[in-house]
């Protein structure tokens, strides 16, 4: 029996669901294991090395920055998610020191300089990727064909670049895009395994369907309107991984259902515009970063009508 003097008075509610921030982060890591596995399968040890360096640099720089800021370092898994996501957006052959610089930039500048988890404006992984692309653009556009663990790396064009030529049938192209047997960033090639990870997150209630569905549907419809190959537009490049794993980042996307739909549509339009009319072959990264920047605006102006709000005129009449 508890002695009565040990009883405490606590504010309610006296129940907690128990799904903590760190649990969510580790579930994200779990879901990311599917595209990660695809990346390692197709691009071998080199891809694994990029992933290890990126994650290690992210966690260590988070630790260092927290010490410098004299804040408690909490191993909540968010740095692992950032490091992993960054690695999945990089070419498998990128020099490892560039990976480390990008990862440090993601954590130290994009995340911590804005106040740390919960306060960053931009998705840290995509911020890091954009930084590497700006500094080392040549190495960020050198792609290799999937070589697994044996063969030598041979350079190739990604499906979205202008020099990409496909000699097989359309069906075999879709098949390779769906399975991931094409050139590209480590984690973006296998639509199948990204979907498996994404559906896992949806089933666990970690992400909402609104952003990925609005994003992918907008790209599909807009591509169709421009007379492009819809399936190709959806399956190629970083759209799938961006829609399920990057655009859904809580901190940098809207909090309301309506806001999330707007976010997805905006990112979709921008992606197609950059791909079709811009100077870059791929636009997922910059589209999401741009929508991150307008997220505070969306959250400010998208209103949800609270229960029982009636127009003044009506209630006075």
């Amino acid at each position: 029996m508890t002695p009565e003097n040990k009883l405490v008075a606590m504010p309610g509610p006296h129940l907690w669901k128990g799904l903590s921030t760190s649990k969510i982060m580790y579930l994200m890591v779990l879901a990311l294991m599917f595209p990660t596995a695809a990346g390692v399968y197709f691009f071998g040890y080199r891809a694994l090395l990029v992933i290890v360096v990126s994650v290690a640099a992210a966690v260590l720089s988070e630790y260092a920055v927290k010490k410098l800021r004299k804040k408690a370092f909490i191993m909540d898994g968010s740095a692992i998610v950032t490091g992993l996501l960054l690695a999945l957006t990089l070419p498998p052959t990128i020099p490892l020191w560039m990976v480390a610089i990008g990862s440090i930039f993601s954590i130290a500048i994009v995340k911590e300089a804005f106040g740390g988890l919960g306060h960053n404006v931009f998705n840290p992984a995509l911020g890091g990727r954009a930084f590497i692309a700006a500094c080392f653009s040549a190495r960020m556009t050198t792609w290799v064909a999937p070589m697994g663990f044996g063969a030598d790396a041979t350079t190739t064009a990604t499906p979205l670049s202008s020099s990409f030529i496909w000699e097989g049938s359309k069906l075999s192209l879709y098949r390779d895009l769906f399975l991931g047997n094409t050139g590209g960033s480590i984690g973006e090639t296998s639509a199948l395994l990204i979907l498996v990870g994404g559906i896992l997150l949806l089933a666990l209630g970690i992400i909402s369907w609104r952003i990925p569905v609005a994003y992918i549907a907008t790209v599909a419809l807009f591509s169709l309107a421009l007379g492009q190959d819809v399936l190709f537009s959806i399956l190629s490049g970083g759209l799938m991984i961006g829609a399920f794993f990057m655009a859904t980042d809580y901190v940098t996307s809207p909090i309301t259902d309506k806001g999330r739909i707007i976010f997805g549509i905006g990112a979709g339009i921008l992606t197609v515009v950059i791909r079709r009319f811009g100077g870059l072959p791929e636009g997922v990264c910059y589209s999401i970063l741009f929508m991150n920047a307008v997220t505070p605006l969306i959250d400010r102006y998208v209103k949800v009508r609270p229960y029982g709000l009636v127009k003044k005129a009506k209630s006075e009449a």
Partner: protein
């Protein structure tokens, strides 16, 4: 009712029920040797004692009353002698409330009860007067005086009466048991309310986690003269379904205006136990002196007890075998909206539907990650995270603009928050600051 694509998705949270521990018959708690009766057990004005130290009182005798309209008298719950007057601290407000202490003579001699010859033929005025004299308040926990609720102002037409048997908070089973054991009295009580309000429709609303109560009440309704008027409806078990505003939204797809009352949309909601108390008052002349309390959580033998008001919490916990090793908190009410009460000398009062003993929840607040879970569960369609952030930063006016007054503090947001932010506390702080500012003006 019916399918409506424009109806907004109902929000709320699915909670672990934890009701099975006390899904068993009501036991009568032994007569207390001493009771402490606070003179305010309702929302509204407090009572003034009508007895003094040394007076002999009988069970059911009025010992405190008020001349104000929004008030309800209190009665002696045992027979004996007024041995002291004292004050107790009212847990929700922290305000001291005067109380009358009665020492039992062990005989439980009742005051003479006046039973009307033809209870169903009483006039509206007479019925309301009897409900008031019986000291009936909302027993779901809100303790709003029943005679006030049942007398809507002129010009407010009530078209729907909802008898609320949802009991959406986990652990609590008192309303559930009252339905199963006093179902007929509830129906007769509902019939009295119908005579007062003449609604077009009467619903008995029960969450689908109580299929036995739904079936039983349906069976009863079918057997009675009410079969054409009363409808027993099964609602999804989703907290906070039993809250008036949520219930009205889910059942009728109507929204009570901000700052308004259910009667503004033609609805009166009355709890099942309150409805039973109205039956007792009108048909048996009995004032409200006892209620069913669920004693559960970390006690050795959880029970539903029929308890006279004024019995100390300690006596109920001891009757149920005492607190188990791990509990560090005693909560009056359910785990979501209940209030911690570490002082076990505090008595059972009209609003005590449950005594829950449990391990307290640790709050380690982290940064908000804007996941939007609080937004997705808020039954009032508010943005709890925005309210909490603005309150934390002292921007109370922005809280007001974000409709903070619409929040009834159900706690679904804080329950679901991954960052463990005590959102309800921040909202309470902002509300009390805004009230202070209003008072200054």
């Amino acid at each position: 009712m019916g399918f409506n694509i424009f109806k907004r998705v109902s929000r709320g949270v699915k909670l672990a029920e934890n009701k099975s521990h006390t899904e068993k018959p009501i036991e009568t708690f032994p007569l207390p040797e001493k009771v402490t009766i606070p003179l305010q057990q309702n929302i509204g004005a407090p009572c003034v004692a009508t007895v003094k130290r040394g007076d002999k009182v009988l069970t059911g005798q009025k010992i405190g009353d008020s001349e104000r309209f929004v008030s309800a008298p209190v009665h002696a719950t045992i027979s004996g002698e007024v041995s002291a007057t004292t004050t107790v601290i009212n847990p929700p407000t922290g305000q001291p409330v005067p109380a009358v202490v009665i020492t039992s003579d062990g005989e439980d001699k009742w005051a003479e009860l006046e039973v009307p010859k033809n209870p169903e033929k009483l006039s509206v005025k007479e019925t309301l007067a009897r409900i008031r004299e019986a000291g009936i308040v909302g027993l779901g926990g809100a303790t709003f005086p029943a005679h006030v609720k049942l007398a809507p102002p002129e010009g407010k037409k009530i078209d729907t009466l909802i008898i609320n048997g949802c009991e959406c908070e986990p652990y609590i089973t008192s309303d559930h048991r009252v339905m199963l054991e006093y179902g007929e009295k509830i129906l007769a009580g509902a019939n009295i309310i119908c005579k007062l309000l003449s609604p077009e429709a009467t619903y008995i609303a029960i969450e689908d986690n109580k299929p036995d109560a739904i079936e039983y009440m349906r069976g009863l309704v079918a057997k009675t003269e009410f079969k054409n008027n009363f409808k027993v409806v099964s609602l999804k078990s989703k907290y906070p379904m039993g809250a008036e505003k949520t219930l009205i939204k889910n059942l009728l797809n109507r929204e009570v205006p901000i700052g308004g009352l259910p009667l503004d949309v033609g609805v009166v909601v009355q709890n099942v136990s309150t409805t039973k108390a109205i039956y007792d008052a009108i048909f048996e002349g009995k004032p409200l002196i006892e209620r069913v309390v669920t004693v559960t959580g970390a006690v050795k033998k959880p029970k539903n007890l029929l308890v006279r008001f004024g019995a100390p919490l300690r006596s109920l916990i001891e009757y149920c075998g005492g607190i188990d090793g791990k509990a560090s908190e005693v909560i009056l009410g359910g785990p979501m909206m209940g209030i911690s009460q570490p002082d076990l000398d505090f008595p059972v009062v009209k609003g005590t539907n449950c005594i829950l003993t449990k391990e307290s929840r640790l709050i380690r607040e982290q940064e908000c990650i804007s996941c939007g879970r609080c937004v997705a569960v808020c039954p009032m369609y508010l943005l709890p995270t925005v309210l909490a952030k603005n309150s934390k930063a002292g921007r109370y006016d922005e809280c007001k603009e974000a409709y903070i007054d619409d929040c009834f503090e159900c706690g679904a947001c804080a329950y679901t928050c991954p960052a463990n932010i005590p959102i309800v506390q921040y909202i309470k702080i902002a509300k009390s600051e805004l009230t202070k500012r209003r008072a200054k003006k």
